[in-house]
Symmetry: C2
Subunit: 241 residues, 2 copies
């Protein structure tokens, strides 16, 4: 995915970033992307802090609270980069608040398990999406984006708890499978809304001078990959996608 | 406060800790103390995450969410030390849950400002208390306890917001002054309850073989110092204590 980005020495990277960021449209798109990522972390913090209240044990509560703290720790590097690019982090995040808030409002977990699935499946989907987008960025921005996605430590905890829950209550599996589909649907609706409203961000995927883009066929393959990964995650949880 | 702890080289410190921790009552008291500290951080996280929802701006929300994340980051070193002393962190925290939960239940902030005051005045009081207790600990445990108290970064933010609030609404000052007194009262009630129930922990203050203790007059002076520091904090906020 990254072979089109050129050499990967510090010097070539700095040069590449300089060229890319000289393009105002690209720069605007990067600020947008960092803004939506940063607000995503903040709203993930809020959601996880809320889920922590539903934890059946203090051990579970601490595990979720640690995930929440991890989300907040990733905000500052994104804000710093937005400032370096001449932007204001809070202005950059503003356009994405309503889409992300609506996503969370429409998918408020009704119990502990729904919260766990949402943390795992929702974050997984978002991470996959940003990882795909990262391939279209200059190397410096790409590294920053990828470093904000290291969430794999949650996975074992969530898989363990959900599998144990399903083992002790078989009806739970059916309900959570439906819940996973709803999360996917809501995420696509809000993503589409953001794409329609934020031209600079969607143009990022279409490419530009010196940057490779994505044609319609490639966009189709991207969606196929996202859906496949979603299905894999659901089956890791012991659920039908 | 620390001159009675002996020399402070690594070797003398290790020797001192060895002697102190060989006393089962001291060891039990230290596990108790680390347990209440750790649960205090967890409940502070919960409270701050809840307060973050009341934040008037996204900037304020992020500031409070960062404080919450900081509390959780301090849990793991305390848990690790409890395990090193042969304890189970969750067993060690259990006896303190009801007192701390009741404190938070009885002092649920009704608005953003009450939450700020609680974060500042409540944490300040708890920190002062643990700092006083730290003087009666072996050097290794003392360092761990003191390192879990570094909360001074919050202060400037809270003082700034509360002073601005009072400047724009003079009635707020009177209400918040009352609120500060209630926080102090509730904290004393719950602290007394814990002291009555946890003999090992209260015995820590009374001293033991090779460890200095606190007589009634010294305990009185400790309370005077805590009250004085509370008054100072309230006046930093522009409030009567």
């Amino acid at each position: 995915m990254t072979e089109s980005q050129g050499g990967d020495t510090p010097a070539s990277r700095a040069h590449e970033a300089e060229i890319a960021l000289a393009d105002p449209a690209y720069r605007e798109a990067v600020v947008d992307l960092l803004g939506v990522l940063a607000y995503g972390e903040i709203s993930a913090f809020e959601r996880l802090a809320e889920d922590a209240k539903l934890a059946p044990t203090l051990e579970d509560k601490v595990a979720i609270a640690r995930m929440a703290a991890g989300e907040i720790d990733r905000v500052e590097p994104l804000h710093r980069r937005i400032r370096e690019l001449g932007g204001d982090p809070f202005v950059a995040m503003a356009p994405f608040r309503s889409a992300l808030d609506l996503f969370h409002e429409h998918t408020a977990p009704s119990d502990w398990y729904e919260g766990l699935i949402k943390a795992y499946v929702g974050d997984g989907l978002a991470d996959d999406f940003y990882r795909e987008i990262a391939a279209y960025l200059d190397a410096g921005t790409r590294e920053l984006v990828l470093s904000s996605l290291e969430e794999s430590t949650h996975a074992a905890f969530v898989v363990d708890r959900v599998r144990a829950g399903i083992a002790s209550d078989h009806r739970l599996g059916g309900r959570l499978a439906l819940w996973g589909r709803r999360l996917m649907g809501e995420a696509l609706i809000q993503a589409q809304r953001v794409a329609a409203e934020r031209e600079a961000l969607s143009a990022l995927l279409a490419g530009g001078v010196d940057r490779p883009g994505l044609d319609l066929a490639a966009l189709g393959r991207l969606f196929t990959r996202l859906t496949e990964r979603h299905t894999e995650r659901m089956s890791e949880l012991g659920l039908d996608a």
